[in-house]
Structure formats: C-alpha cells, structure tokens
Assembly symmetry: C2
Homo-oligomer: 255 residues x 2
C-alpha cells in the first residue's frame, strides 16, 4: 500500500515536526486512519504535544525489547489518529539508538506489521542526511521537503534532492518526491522574498501552498496542541495545512 | 591549551552556525588567532559565506586523503581568522563521512597538529546528539549551547545538558559548559517571553547577552557575510556578539 510519507530536510528548524503533526491531524480529521511516527531521537512530536521525554512508551521501548508494539502505538483525542512516539530514551544512548533504527529490518518490520491498519503513515525525521533519514527514505513511498524561506536553507536543499534521487535510483525505486513546502515565509522581508522567487522559478515540484511565519505556531507548541486544536476561531494557518493536504491528495492520485 | 569551543544543540535551526561564525569574527577582530571548524556535514559555514558546497577544499578532502591539511585550512579577509570548511562531499556519502568523523583519532589528530597555532578554535556542529556532536564534545574544552527562545527548543535542552554532563564525567573531564545562549528572542511575543522567564530562572549557566530575532541575520547570510562585515553602520546585533565574546572571556578566565 502506498501510504508512507517521510518529511525530511537537511537544514535544521525548517518545520518538519510542525508539518508532520499538522498534516497528520488534517488527514485524520478527513476520516483517514493515520499513524504519525517519530523517528527523530529528539522526540519532538512528544514535545509538540506537551509531553516530556519520559511520558510515553514508544519506538525506543519496542526496539530495546521493553514493550510490545501494541502498547507503543498510542491513541489520541482524534479516533482516526494514532502516534508511535520516540519513547523512553536516555540521550546518552542516541548514537546506539540511531544505529538500531538504521538496521532497516527493525523499522521495515514494524511498519509491515501495521501497514494494513492505516491509510497514511507520516514519518517525522531528524534534520540532516544521516542514518535515520536514509532509513526513512528506504521505506517511504513519498517525501515532503519543508524548506525554510531563508538563504541558508535554500543553499542546502540541493543536497537533499541529490540524496532523494540516489535513494530512488538505488534503494527504493517507488520513492516519489511529492514536493518542496515553503515554510516560515515572510514575503515582506527581502531575503525571504528572494528565496521564494528562486524557489518558484527554480524547482520542479513545489507546493503552491506556502506556510507563512506566524506566532500561532509557538503558541500552539506552548499549549501542546496542533494548530487546528487551539480553540476559538480556527487560525488561518490551520487552513494552509488543509489546502496542503488537498494538494498532497491530488499529487498522489496523479502518480 | 584550553582553546577549543564547541557550539552544539539538540534542536535544529537554533543559531549554531550563526553564533560560531559571528563569535569567531569578534575574537579575530580582537587580535586572537582563530580557527573556525565546520564539523556539520551540511557545510553551513561555507553557505554562510556564500560559497557553494564544492568551492572549498576542506575537512572531507583531508579525511578522504585528497588534500593535505595545510590546503584544507583557508585564510579569510581577516588575517587572524582561518577556516577549516567541510570541503567537497557528495551528500550521498554523509553516513560514511559521519562514521569517519567520529573516529576520534581523525579529528583529535587534526586539532593536535594545529592546536598551538591558534588562540581559539570554534567548532560548528550538526543538530542532534549523534556521532559528530559526541566527537566534538570529546575534544572540546568548552561548550556553548544556543537555545532558540521557543517552547520546542526549551523542551529538548535537558537532553543536551544530560549528554554534556555524561561526557564530562566519562570521556572528557576538562569539558566545561560556558553557558546557554538565548537566540531569536522575541520578548514582545508571549511564548518567547515565557521561555525566557523559564531560562532565566531555571538554569544555572545562562549568558546575560541574548540575541534577538532580527532580519539582519537573513540579510547577512544572503550577502554571504558575517554581520559585522555587512557594511554601513554596524548593526546593533553585531554588538551583541561583542558583548557575548566579553562574557565568554570572563567566564574562561574564571575557570
Ligand atoms: N510557519 C511557522 N512560523 C513560525 N514559527 C514556526 C513555523 N513553523 C514552525 N515554527 C516554529 O519554529 C520552530 C522550528 O519548527 P520545527 O521544530 O517544526 O522544525 P524542525 O524542522 O522539525 O526542527 P528540527 O530540526 O529540530 O527537527 C519551532 O519552534 C516551531 O514551533
Ligand atoms: N537572531 C536571529 N534572528 C533571526 N534569524 C536568525 C537569527 N540567528 C540565526 N538566524 C537565521 O535562522 C536560521 C537558523 O540559524 P542557523 O542556521 O545559524 O542555525 P543552526 O542551529 O546552525 O541550524 P542547523 O540545525 O541547520 O545547523 C538561519 O537562516 C539564520 O540566518
Ligand atoms: Mg523536528
Ligand atoms: Mg548550522
């Protein structure tokens, strides 16, 4: 089943976790059964939902033999959204954890076991193009590339595209780049505007939806909520993820 | 010689590269002989100076036996600042490169060879607590921790402090945390303000100098320059790195 979407970027802080979480929520609200997997040893999906490092059992517990997979996948307030969080992990052990994650069998086996239960599986990943991201690319069907609208992020996106190409040619021929997602866009600021003119004219697969820089994202993470759940009037930024989800559905349908 | 300062953070996009570059410039302008080493496989020090991935010979060339160390260390417009950039690296090879970097001998040997030539050696590192960051912590004398003034970054800083503690106890007893550096601070925004109240009240070693969120940083990276070199009136943010450098000198003198 072509249902696995990895969200990756070489550059740090480009909005991978924010995109993974808010997209998972939109697809779940549309009635799809969704699994959100946190492959980042930092465990930021948990942090975004105001849970500390040690509150959830998750992937690390399963890989280290401390818990069965069923207890590592947790339900959320949305009946159609489940999360496989990072789980309990001493940060001192991150190097070993990354090695354990990259033995493709471990992740591939986990996903095989649950694949049929979900319409979509989103993978949040650490920044960079190291072991964990390469593992995610081997098992994903689709890739989304958040690109922060800043000069430094633009200068490293070529590396990400190169690796996606390489993995598609040599390791996972069904891998498809769904698109580059411009994030933290500030069209009123010259450097950000210039990045966007390059992105819109220079790259083939760019989503039409862009995510503007907006304070609501910090407010949402402070509250430990996806932006759609912030309460009160739905913020316009939440609509952006709805528009993005529609673009994603259309692109997948075409492939 | 206690002259090696690593700049690390678990969270991505917190200002590691920006701090490493602008601090190196301030110390060099004060007459110290400075080496800035880019340990991040992304090569963002080069990107910050508007050089693409392939323009400089650097660390990867030396480690892969393609160039002697002397040609990998390059001079800059500032006679007292030299840079050891990442060098030519196919992003497909990043996993192997990280493995090569972590064999402590390779980096330790390089630094030993040049240690006596420099008053300060700054290391920019990739985000996360993986192989490369652990290697940097093993060879550094001091650590600076940029913390983006956002809830998600605050929630993962405990991981970084835990690993620094562990490395100091088990691998490098001379390692000292110089301080947490608050970056992209927006005291006018509630979530950022709340992070700062927690940082100022909850952590022992926090620099008094904070770096505000400011557009000048994107403008500087677009121009491929450290902020002190932007030309015209020196931006107030450049003064922040001067104040920070003074705080660093004072803290090192006390240790
Ligand atoms: N459009 C936006 N506008 C403003 N802030 C944003 C936006 N998107 C995300 N953020 C905030 O910016 C920071 C970085 O976003 P996020 O953590 O999602 O990026 P990431 O790529 O997952 O980072 P990492 O490299 O650490 O995994 C977070 O504090 C988040 O709340
Ligand atoms: N104080 C600031 N205000 C506004 N923008 C900033 C500030 N400091 C850095 N930036 C910009 O924010 C982005 C992230 O900064 P930088 O690349 O230095 O972080 P990093 O921690 O090195 O990221 P990575 O995890 O990719 O290594 C860059 O585009 C940079 O130009
Ligand atoms: Mg993240
Ligand atoms: Mg960096």
């Amino acid at each position: 089943m072509k249902n696995k979407i990895a969200i990756i970027s070489t550059k740090g802080g480009t909005g991978k976790t924010t995109s993974a979480l808010n997209l998972a929520v939109v697809f779940a609200e549309r009635g799809r059964s969704v699994l959100l997997v946190d492959l980042d040893p930092q465990g930021a999906i948990g942090h975004s939902l105001a849970k500390g490092d040690t509150e959830w059992v998750g992937l690390a517990d399963y890989l280290m033999g401390r818990a069965p997979l069923e207890t590592a996948i947790i339900a959320t307030k949305l009946s159609t959204l489940s999360i496989l969080p990072r789980g309990k992990l001493d940060p001192v052990d991150i190097v070993q954890y990354e090695m354990a994650l990259q033995s493709v069998d471990s992740i591939a086996k986990i996903i095989e076991a649950v694949d049929a239960d979900f319409d979509c599986i989103f993978f949040d990943t650490p920044s960079g193009l190291g072991l964990v991201t390469r593992t995610a690319l081997k098992i994903a069907d689709f890739v989304i590339l958040p690109l922060q609208a800043e000069p430094l992020a633009l200068r490293s996106i070529g590396q990400t595209l190169r690796v996606i190409d390489h993995v598609k040619t040599n390791e996972n021929e069904s891998l498809e780049l769904l698109g580059i997602l411009a994030t933290m866009v500030q069209l009123g600021e010259e450097a950000s505007f210039n990045v966007m003119s390059t992105v819109w004219s220079g790259f083939a697969t760019v989503f039409e939806t862009v995510i503007p820089r907006a304070q609501v994202f910090s407010a949402a993470s402070e509250a430990g909520l996806p932006i759609a759940f912030l309460g009160g009037r739905i913020p316009p930024e939440a609509r952006r993820f709805e528009a993005l989800a529609t673009e994603i559905e259309d692109r997948i349908a075409l492939l």
